[in-house]
């Protein structure tokens, strides 16, 4: 829906149009696309777990599990009371997964958002301004792209004192934006030459109109896909940093669970393997849900594909 038409519509029509555009059409696309539908349901489950879970499941206190039997003092297999069993510290694993979900998701979405924002801004400015600005921005982008991301992330993470989701998200974005900036720039360069942009320029439309109303909609599906990839990348990075114990372990994160499971050697025996499997399944499930959901993103955001629904 373009802005000019929207301006002439009544509020009711606008709401109707909005529902049509952002709920009914994407819903139809999702129902038709089975992979994306499964991904969407799974993702919804994770988001609900993060939003509602902490209100239902009690905070994972240590030493709440009764010793199972004297010889296996430190082994708490799944039971009715504790569906995923308990960890080395006698804390309920299911509660740890639930309470970890908001932290993992916050870091992932914050990092995804910042990465995409920096990538779009740098790419757009470089593509539009051209000349010296472009040359300088692309030189910086090239250097950031070549410096190996994971080792730099690990070195930078050691400096962090307070690992709030915002700090960790920002940290993960530092090494992640360059690839997106480069591709946005080349997309802008090719779109700039297209007739509808030339026409908008000839009409004397302001630059912000050209950027946000003409170019952005054409890049939306590309940006959305890259946002999802930035999120999966951030989950990989943040969980990994916690797993190595480089970020302070003072938070409830699936990476912290993985760290304890590894350092306590839960992989050595089948009777303790559930300490490790729980965070693994949670992480793989989340990554899979995002990847499956991305199958529908192109259809939902690409204006040319949408018309076929």
């Amino acid at each position: 829906m373009s802005e000019k038409i929207a301006a002439k519509m009544t509020l009711g029509e606008m709401v109707k149009g909005f529902i049509e555009d952002w709920i009914i059409v994407p819903g139809k696309i999702l129902v038709r696309n089975k992979k994306a539908f499964v991904g969407f349901i799974l993702l919804l489950f994770y988001i609900l777990m993060a939003l509602v879970g902490p209100f239902i499941v009690p905070y994972p206190q240590t030493y709440v599990c009764e010793p199972y039997a004297p010889p296996t003092l430190l082994k708490w297999p799944p039971s009715l009371e504790h569906p995923l069993g308990c960890d080395y510290f006698g804390a309920d694993i299911w509660a740890e997964i639930v309470w970890g979900a908001p932290i993992v998701l916050q870091i992932a979405f914050i990092a995804g958002f910042i990465t995409t924002f920096i990538g779009i801004t740098v790419g757009m400015v470089a593509g539009f301004k051209g000349g010296k600005v472009d040359a300088v921005l692309m030189a910086i982008t090239d250097i950031v792209m070549t410096i190996p991301g994971l080792p730099l992330l690990i070195v930078l993470a050691t400096v962090i004192k307070a690992a709030t989701p915002w700090v960790v998200g920002l940290l993960l974005s530092i090494t992640a934006w360059a690839g997106l900036a480069r591709s946005i720039r080349s997309q802008v360069l090719s779109l700039k030459e297209r007739e509808f942009i030339e026409a908008a320029k000839a009409l004397g439309l302001p630059t912000w109109h050209i950027v946000f109303r003409e170019i952005m909609p054409n890049l939306m599906s590309f940006i959305a896909i890259n946002f999802i990839f930035a999120t999966t990348g951030a989950i990989y990075g943040s969980v990994g940093l916690y797993f190595l114990g480089i970020l302070p372990l003072t938070t409830l994160n699936w990476g912290v669970m993985l760290n304890y499971a590894y350092t306590q050697g839960s992989y050595m025996s089948l009777s303790t393997i559930h300490y490790m499997l729980a965070p693994i399944i949670a992480i793989v499930g989340l990554q899979t849900s995002l990847i499956l959901f991305s199958y529908a993103v192109d259809e939902i955001f690409n204006p040319r594909l949408r018309t076929q629904v």
Partner: protein
């Protein structure tokens, strides 16, 4: 030739920038090596703080002195001459370059082997997928690979460690080679090294196979649509020859750059796998340097990784220019 000179200068600048950034980041880290060593002694030998601190003071001569700027100038001038300083707390007094030189071959062995295996397998699978484009096999594999590609390698490594090292006991749990073999160029030693490297290599292959297969699939599909393939078929050339020399060679070309880039990036990304399998390569070294707060070892290891990545990217650029005749002619004209 001018573009090669330009690329070399940019690569050199990147290394300098990265080395400078790490110097200042590492030096602003909380905690100093003497304190880290003190804490390590307390944990390991249950010493009192005073005894541990006194013992840890032995590393003091190796801790840099003077203002930060002075240290930076000192470090960079040594760095440019190939001197990476000495280890402070990991292995007090040993030159960092020496420590790294003994670790690099192991990481190169694992990374290069797994890259070749995953690239080769990926190319084959990707071509099959492209030829069967749209079939159940194709869409099933595409789905599987897009999921395996997003599973972190530390998760795959942990699962392989659990199943094949601890439960089935087919492979060793840790280390480079067994204690009872004599290192050298003999069959027993080589077999033992490969046996120890098997799980790290398998982890890399599982993580990277999907990317290569999907990349080759896309590349092959676009080549199959080219006119020269239709023409080659019309000329009645044998299918085998079309598949190998016409389709295969042209489809691999765009993947070549990523191949060279991967070499450097896997080199830098080996920290998780080497940590989990206790495989003392470059990534393991970086982990040790960080936990020991060993400044020069950290900076040195990071610099070596940056040099590997930048050199890989530079070589990819130059070689690609020679491999693709279109670029070769364009650039020679410059």
């Amino acid at each position: 030739m001018r573009w090669i000179v330009k690329r070399v200068i940019i690569a050199f600048l990147t290394i300098l920038v990265a080395a400078s950034i790490t110097f200042f980041v590492v030096r602003s880290m909380p905690g100093d090596p003497i304190e880290a060593l003190t804490q390590a002694f307390i944990r390991q030998y249950y010493m009192s703080y005073e005894t541990a601190r006194a013992l840890a003071e032995s590393v003091a001569p190796f801790v840099p002195k003077g203002s930060l700027l002075q240290q930076y100038i000192d470090y960079m001038s040594k760095f440019l001459r190939g001197d990476l300083g000495v280890s402070i707390s990991f292995s007090t007094g040993t030159p960092v370059a020496e420590l790294l030189a003994s670790r690099i071959p192991w990481t190169v062995l694992v990374v290069a082997t797994s890259l070749i295996i995953s690239f080769g397998l990926g190319i084959l699978i990707g071509m099959v997928m492209a030829y069967k484009h749209g079939s159940k096999l194709d869409s099933g594999l595409a789905l599987l690979f897009s999921i395996t590609r997003s599973i972190p390698e530390y998760i795959i490594a942990l699962l392989l460690l659990t199943v094949f090292a601890f439960q089935l006991k087919w492979f060793p749990v840790r280390g480079l080679y067994s204690a009872n073999v004599t290192p050298g160029f003999n069959l027993e030693f080589i077999a033992d090294v490969l046996w120890h490297a098997a799980l790290p290599i398998t982890t890399w292959v599982i993580v990277h196979l999907g990317g290569w297969a999907l990349g080759m699939r896309g590349s092959t599909i676009s080549v199959l649509g080219e006119d020269y393939i239709t023409y080659a078929k019309a000329r009645g050339l044998p299918t085998r020859r079309i598949t190998v020399t016409y389709v295969g060679r042209n489809a691999i070309l765009p993947l070549f750059t990523s191949f060279m880039l991967s070499l450097g990036f896997m080199f830098g990304g080996s920290i998780f796998i080497e940590y989990i399998f206790a495989y003392p390569g470059v990534g393991w070294m970086l982990y040790q340097a960080i936990t020991n707060r060993d400044w020069f070892l950290m900076i040195g290891t990071f610099d070596i990784i940056v040099i590997a990545v930048v050199t890989g990217a530079l070589l990819a650029d130059i070689l690609y220019g020679f491999l693709d005749p279109r670029i070769r002619r364009g650039r020679m004209g410059e």
